[in-house]
Amino acid sequence: MAPPDTKVVTATWDDPQVFGLDGYVDRGGYEGLRAALGMTPTEVIDVVKASGLRGRGGAGFPTGVKWSFVPQTTGKPTYVVANFDESEPGTFNNREIVEREPHRFLEGVAIAAYAVQSHTAFVYCRGEFLWPGQILDGAIRDAYADGVFGASVLGSGFELDVVLHRGAGAYICGEETALLSSLEGYRGQPRLRPPFPAVEGLYACPTVINNVETLANVPSIMTNGAEWFAKIGPEKSPGTKLFSVSGKVERAGNYEVPMGTPLRVLLDEHARGVLAGARLKAWTPGGSSTPMLTDEHLDVALDFESVAAAGSLLGTGAIIVMDESDCIVEATRRLIQFYAHESCGKCTPCREGTWWVSRVLARIEHGYGRPEDLPLLDELGHNILFKAFCALADGAVSPIQSSLRYFRDEYEAHIAERRCPFTGKGPGRAAEGTGPPPLTEVLT
């Protein structure tokens, strides 16, 4: 067993010398790439397969298997696209990986490119990440200047160009097929799969798309071996996970722990507990698109299988913590407002459904809810789930259904009291000094 404090993607974060290409190389950086270049591409894929590494962007698909799907006989170019469009609410680990040590991630990009014999890799950087994008821009230039990228990667004769491409503000572009549409210069709308990107991706050519954290794991797998990695964490979800913890906690931040670490450990030992000692009420295991859980789930092991068994999803490992003073109806309303705003509009159930749900939640929150609204929300959720091209719609259903599952009484209280029990606002028994907002204002 690897020690429980094993670090992979954050291994050198505390070392002030590491920043910049020279510092990274001094600490063994780009040795993973060198090791990969000494193998055949198939051998590299086999190592990553054997490590058991699974995608960290949400779906958890085995990375080596994904790479092995790329055909090498099409006569077309092959592309690697790094998905740095991090925008799942509550998620901020990719940003810190790039801000702290861009070269670990870029090394992963180069290893992936070699494995699938791609000579052009794109990094799709979220537009709002102005500064992280500047860091990457500089790091890529440094890598070219030192012969890490370019005509002959580390003198191997393998050619690789790495191109930074910035997005322009659209959550949906984190969805891999929407990302490809955006990178090709179109609206960021998803495409129907199959064909999968591995076969027909960017410019209809074979394409591998990986998340930043996934790629940042690859260099250490190459240097330390598949077996080393496979022994960290549970058998089916090996490795560590960089969890983003935010909301009502004492110390929000990114914490790298072995997969399978229970929330209790992450919350108490790393995030130093719920803010001001309040009681935990609800939390998301993997961003707003994963069903929320409650204080009954404190001991759920945070790995793909265990979280799924508890009725949610590991997602991006973004833990948003809500305490007893937070209104679940308002939290859900705010999240659905997000999905309604970010729906690309392609599929009717998502475009119309998220907007409709956001209106129903707004009237419940403001004290204008009707008893028939709860069955209506159940029905709307049912009519959105799995009815659209991409997972954005399914993600929107997560907060709706999970909040109704665990906190139905709170919805009922809003409707019965005709106000929000937390703010006191609403036409029913309004708290002193807070008159009811007019309905027109609520529903604009």
């Binding site: 500064w131 609206r187 935010s246 973004a318 970010e342």
Partner: protein, 188 residues
């Protein structure tokens, strides 16, 4: 009258060259940022010029531009103040920060910009810095743990012609400058 001066037209060709031959359409977002960096927002003429550079119709370019929130198709303030009000920030008081930003910047909800043309205020979705909630970006430079009082100070600094020190990295001088960085028309 061309939107892009000769030196930026040259850079536009360099931006197109980042993408494989025949795939220059991929340059539409950086080129839109480039025209935005000249005009402060993307005008009709800007859309047209990007279309000319890529062999696309103005309608095709507009269809792309209108999809993305960071490409502004309406008159925009010198500075764009983006306040995240998504859940992690809302739990730490972001709604008050957004209200304060709208008030101190003099931007009515739904208005393009303040009467003096100084500010656009944008209610933002998650900015991926939830450990620093509530998060505000000024011209896409991050400001961490912004209270309503701090929001007032930030607006005052901008009004006084100073660029507030961001929490990490360097800040662009204004929205046009940020757009130039986003186009990749400026080195790191």
């Amino acid at each position: 009258m061309a939107v892009l001066p000769p030196e930026l037209r040259e850079q536009a060709e360099g931006i197109k060259a980042r993408y494989p031959a025949g795939r220059e359409r991929s340059a539409v977002l950086p080129l839109l940022y480039l025209v935005q960096s000249v005009q402060g927002w993307v005008t009709r003429e800007g859309l047209q010029e990007v279309g000319e550079l890529l062999g696309l119709t103005t309608a095709e370019v507009e269809a792309v531009a209108s999809f993305y929130t960071m490409l502004r198709l309406r008159p925009t303030g010198t500075h764009v103040v983006s306040v995240c009000t998504n859940l992690s920030c809302a739990l730490r008081g972001a709604n008050d920060v957004f209200e304060t930003a709208s008030e101190v910047c003099g931007v009515e909800h739904g208005a393009d910009r303040s009467a003096d043309g100084m500010f656009t205020v944008h209610e933002e979705e998650c900015l991926g810095a939830c450990d620093a909630a509530p998060v505000v970006q000024i011209d896409f430079a991050n400001h961490d743990r912004v209270s309503p009082e701090r929001m007032r100070e930030l607006a005052d600094e901008l009004r006084a012609g100073r660029v507030p020190e961001p929490s990490r990295g360097s800040a662009p001088t204004d929205f046009r400058h940020a757009s130039r960085v986003l186009a990749g028309a400026e080195g790191p």
